[in-house]
Point group: C3
Chain length 209, copies 3
């Protein structure tokens, strides 16, 4: 189990991905607030919940200190995302640009969450679960609070992409791959899968009985 | 306070009940995914949330390590329940069989959760609360995520049965009964009450002003 | 950072505010159960969730022992609030009396939550966040469980009042004010703001593009 090498190898890239992931997730929360014609305070609230929700639940479950409570930068990023969503011209966020950023955040976060699970000594399946939770739970809480149908209930590939990233990270790490390589492969394949869903509408079959 | 004797006395029976409880709760989550025509990935997600949700919230509240993160078996059971729900002929789960399994899980889990609360040194009322939470919260999260009216909002006896099991476990333990006896009596009476709701439609009066 | 002086200075006043805050929040939960024609068991459940929800999430996030699990009194207050809501003549809670109590609870709790965050060594922004969470999250969970549109989605000042109390507590404490003074000023101004919303309908502008 080599999550420490993962961090060492990716180093600044991982730190950047981490903050970029928080930013795009926070932005997606704030944009939902915009869609629902909310106040700036609600923009803030949704940005924070979406940006840090998944990682927060992961940290609680694995017994880690919650990652954003001992520094200001994480909340600052969420607040900046909320203000950007509030000020930007309405057209800017339309189209698919945000979906692609979100896909990058989803894939990187799912790999990162699974690696953190292994680093805290979790068994492989729960570590995989932490990856999925890190990638998806912020968006799920956002949808529940907004009264929107959750991403959970869409057949479009989303949770599946998170699951692929998380499973690859765990599998490749257990197979002895260095953490950096495992992280890159896991994130890239999850991203490709989610990309197929955005670009081509890839979806899973639904239960049809 | 004798939750350790409870475990010692019930021993393998308790272990079996524990795993069986996870399985029926996970199955009820997966069946809701089937009802809503979801994908297999959503079956997994709902099975896990419903199977481990209540115990997870309990463990976080009492400061215990979350029970399923250091082993694979709990998630394996949830995944197996999801696959069973996906593959089984649609008629198999209809009728009331599942409700009776769920009633057994509810009663056993509520007693077990209250006993775990006492074992962690909680005061009697919060320990009672942990029993109710262990029995009910997984189903509540499942319903919220699915956009269904929660079991909380039905007058049919459900939370009440959990409360009776939890209260009896705490009361009988404090009265000095050995843990095994307290656990059995608590679970059986809770099960009987929930059984009355399934079989006879027992319900509480609603607020009528 | 002087949250201990806050507690020392306010002393019994703070203890009283704490229990009164739990009581009014619990009452607001039970009254929603009444509005929805629920059973007494659901009254209990909603009273507890609303009364302790915000502080519970705060304690989990900052790594504090959850405040209500080692004593009976908190749950007793919630249960008493539920019974009071069940037994009282329907007219008693109508009008704005409850809103004013709730405003007092909101302001005091937001200041208290931020002070507890500082006392646990949090950075200023997360400590501010803990204040908002302590004041608002119980009500948010209550609304989600009841299937009501959340206070988050109303433009009326509510979360904003909590944010003002929390921000003032953190800012004044960092500026060196003694804890008692910071707590009083923070709670009074948050209360005034929320009062303006109740009395005059003060609201924030909503996103209008």
């Amino acid at each position: 189990m080599a999550p420490v090498p993962l961090q060492a190898a990716l180093g600044p890239a991982l730190d950047f991905l981490d903050l970029a992931g928080i930013a795009v997730f926070a932005l997606s929360g704030a944009l939902l607030a915009a869609e629902k014609k909310q106040t700036l305070v609600t923009f803030f609230f949704f940005a924070v919940i979406t940006g840090v929700g998944g990682g927060t639940v992961r940290d609680l479950l694995i017994g880690a200190p919650v990652f954003w409570v001992h520094e200001n930068v994480t909340l600052l990023i969420c607040f900046a995302a909320a203000i950007a969503a509030w000020l930007a011209p309405a057209g800017l966020w339309q189209g698919k640009a945000l979906l692609w950023f979100d896909a990058a955040g989803l894939a990187a976060y799912s790999a990162f969450g699974a690696a953190k699970g292994l680093a805290f000594g979790l068994a492989p399946l729960p570590a995989f679960g932490m990856g999925v939770i890190t990638g998806c739970v912020g968006g799920i809480i956002r949808d529940v609070l907004a009264g929107e149908p959750s991403i959970l209930l869409r057949s479009e590939l989303y949770v599946t992409a998170a699951a692929v990233s998380a499973a690859l990270l765990v599998g490749l790490t257990l197979a002895g791959l260095p953490g950096g390589a495992a992280g890159l492969i896991a994130a890239l394949l999850g991203f490709a899968l989610r990309g197929g869903a955005i670009w081509r509408g890839w979806a899973l079959p639904t239960y049809g009985r």
